[in-house]
Symmetry: C2
Subunit: 403 residues, 2 copies
């Protein structure tokens, strides 16, 4: 029935207080009540729980007189969170404080032609320990770790149900990863679309929203959805596979096994296929993914007409895909992220401003803002660190959100 | 922040109790607690409120001994609800009891070439009073009325923001309708996609679901979405315009002004265009919408190869559109309804079983059931009667759901 309990509400109040503390750095109880629109009694209860658990501490006195005006902040105890982004061509681990400050990161390249789980696991382990070393953090100080894996993942079991890029089916990644990592805490496994959405919910400075869609553009493409401030997972954590909605009937083969998917045109290999159609002899056609996108950026910088045509075709496809999202979900915000988008954002944004209106119903277009997601260096590692923070809160009996 | 209050929870508990009473007819408090998984204390509170308001009454004693075992039912007081479905070619009004029993209905044809609001309003008034007369209900016994209008509607203002079929922009339908109807209660205006979704949430006998999509197939086509048992309205009540997601880039013109929309292939005028492509001289090409669909049904009944080809092409388009919904939202249920679907359901369902799997990601396909919506004669009028019931509950200070 979707019926909500009183503990759900306490959990949502905790989320509101923590999100506000993360965003403002320090705040009094009164500040928190004003910013969250929660009652002062609710804020006082939530703060008392968080103080007891050592997750929040008092950092000074506020200016007001005659009421509890202590300034509060997220605890600066030496506990650390790890967020890992496993993509097709790299594994990046980033170390965060409990207040989600980015402390250090380390990337390991992955060979996208080697689909053995043990190869990917070795890359993850090297990335995590490399990042811990850079941050000067002992593995015992890790209070939580979240790892993002492309494709369908079940967080409850730690199983990668299906990862099309590696042709993985039912790989129990958590059981294989935990002994190799040698940390004292369990791994939270999830999907990058869920991670970027949670990062936007916790860290984005924009106004709170009715319906938010976070679009991730990299080798693969997809969307995370949040409605009324809550992550939409779908029935088996597979919601958001916008990259596998159809753009062209009987179009290009997609690595999901179907044809004509959005990803086959807008993902980086799709862009490479488009360039091969436009200019089969262009030297960038043969480049590997990162180098290819660097070449596209360089070409656009130099007004190379072939690269401009590639941009136009890619953005036209993207506008169709985004128009479908606008029309089906009527969101108030679409936030764009992903490594391909980050590299080409300067050129993509103006094209979308031009092209999306033709693909969207007027009323729905009028209420949607389409912007880059700005939550620090890597929203996937940030989102996975937030899942790790959720694990820490849950261990204290203080879940902040039913994510 | 989407933060939920204690009154939201009371409202959801009321929904759960009312839904269960509607579905079981009579029940004891104990039965209601078991069926809803609410605590007996919560059920007792909700029942006490509903008894006080006269919306529920005691109809007898239950079998159990030594506990409050009265049998309860929705009140049979003579108050009535009216649900109206304004479509392109007809306005149907149906009269319901407070327990959502369908008592009578009456339809008025609408001339889909006459887009004057006063023409549509006259049709609605005639349909409502015709239905009241058939049911033998005095207008003063109407406790609530809900009217569904195609296109974008704002329930809060009663304005039809945009109705593409009539080229209406910002028509304040409620203000024009209320004096003509001569009822003592205000009109709740909404969109048919919202109505069918609410009908499915309240009346469908299937299991409660994570993500449900109700697909409405008639002259226009669209989808209603419910997540965790709650209607998804989108930012400006425009969520669910699946009919205006793109099926074919630069395809057929659509009445929304764009090209290649799902509706341009799957809506009834779209099917007529397909038949004109397949067999320009076929006599059914020139028929009006209802007669056209009757001719399609007759042709399929007689194994007419042209009509079989029309069915195949329509279902292929529908399968692409449904595949996109499966991949983007990962629902556990898709429920099909609408007058075109009702007429051709026997032929459409087996084709979809064949065609949808090729358009959906395997994991998401595995968890979705695609079935006809079965909530009585007309899910649009039923859904609008539910909105009217919500108005009645709200007037008693007992909202059952934040719809």
């Amino acid at each position: 029935m979707g019926t909500r309990s009183a503990s759900d509400i306490r959990s949502e109040s905790r989320f509101a207080v923590l999100r506000q503390l993360l965003s403002s750095g320090t705040a009094t109880r009164q500040d928190l009540a004003v910013a969250t629109t929660l009652s002062t009694a609710t804020v006082a209860n939530v703060v008392a729980e968080l103080l007891d658990a050592g997750l929040v501490h008092v950092v000074g006195k506020g200016a007001s007189v005659g009421r509890p005006s202590s300034k509060l902040a997220i605890s600066d105890e030496p506990l650390r969170l790890v967020g890992v982004d496993i993509a097709e061509t790299y594994a990046t681990a980033a170390i965060y404080s409990l207040s989600l400050e980015h402390l250090a990161e380390h990337s390991e390249p992955l060979d996208d032609t080697d689909n053995q789980p043990r190869t990917v696991i070795a890359g993850v382990v090297a990335a995590v320990h490399g990042a811990l070393a850079r941050a000067g953090v002992h593995p015992d100080a890790v209070a939580g770790i979240g790892i993002s894996v492309p494709g369908q993942v079940m967080p409850s079991t730690g199983v990668s149900v299906f990862a099309p890029n590696w042709d993985w089916h039912q790989v129990n990644l958590r059981d294989q990863l935990e002994p190799e990592l040698g940390l004292s805490v369990g791994v939270h496994l999830d999907n990058p679309l869920k991670a970027v959405t949670v990062a936007a919910l916790w860290l984005d400075n924009g106004p709170s929203t009715d319906t938010m869609v976070v679009v991730n553009l990299g080798t693969g493409v997809g969307a995370g959805i949040a409605i009324n401030g809550r992550l939409v997972r779908g029935t088996c954590n597979n919601a958001g596979e916008w990259g596998h909605t159809t753009l062209v009937q009987d179009g290009r083969p997609c690595r999901c096994g179907r044809r004509g998917c959005v990803e086959a045109y807008v993902g980086v290999p799709g862009m490479q296929a488009t360039l091969a159609e436009l200019a089969p002899d262009h030297p960038a056609v043969a480049l590997h993914q990162d180098a290819f996108i660097a070449a596209v950026a360089a070409g656009l910088e130099a007004d190379d007409p072939t690269m401009m045509a590639l941009l136009d075709r890619t953005c036209a496809s993207l506008a169709y895909g985004l128009g479908d999202v606008v029309n089906l979900l009527n969101p108030d915000r679409i936030l764009l992220c992903g490594w391909m988008f980050s590299a080409l954002q300067t050129w993509i944004m103006p094209r979308l401003t031009e092209l999306v209106p033709a693909q969207a119903l007027e009323a729905s277009l009028d209420v949607v803002s389409i912007q880059p997601l700005e939550v620090g260096r890597n929203p996937v590692t940030a989102g996975m660190a937030i899942f790790a923070l959720e694990d820490v809160l849950a261990r204290h009996g203080l879940p902040s959100r039913l994510v």
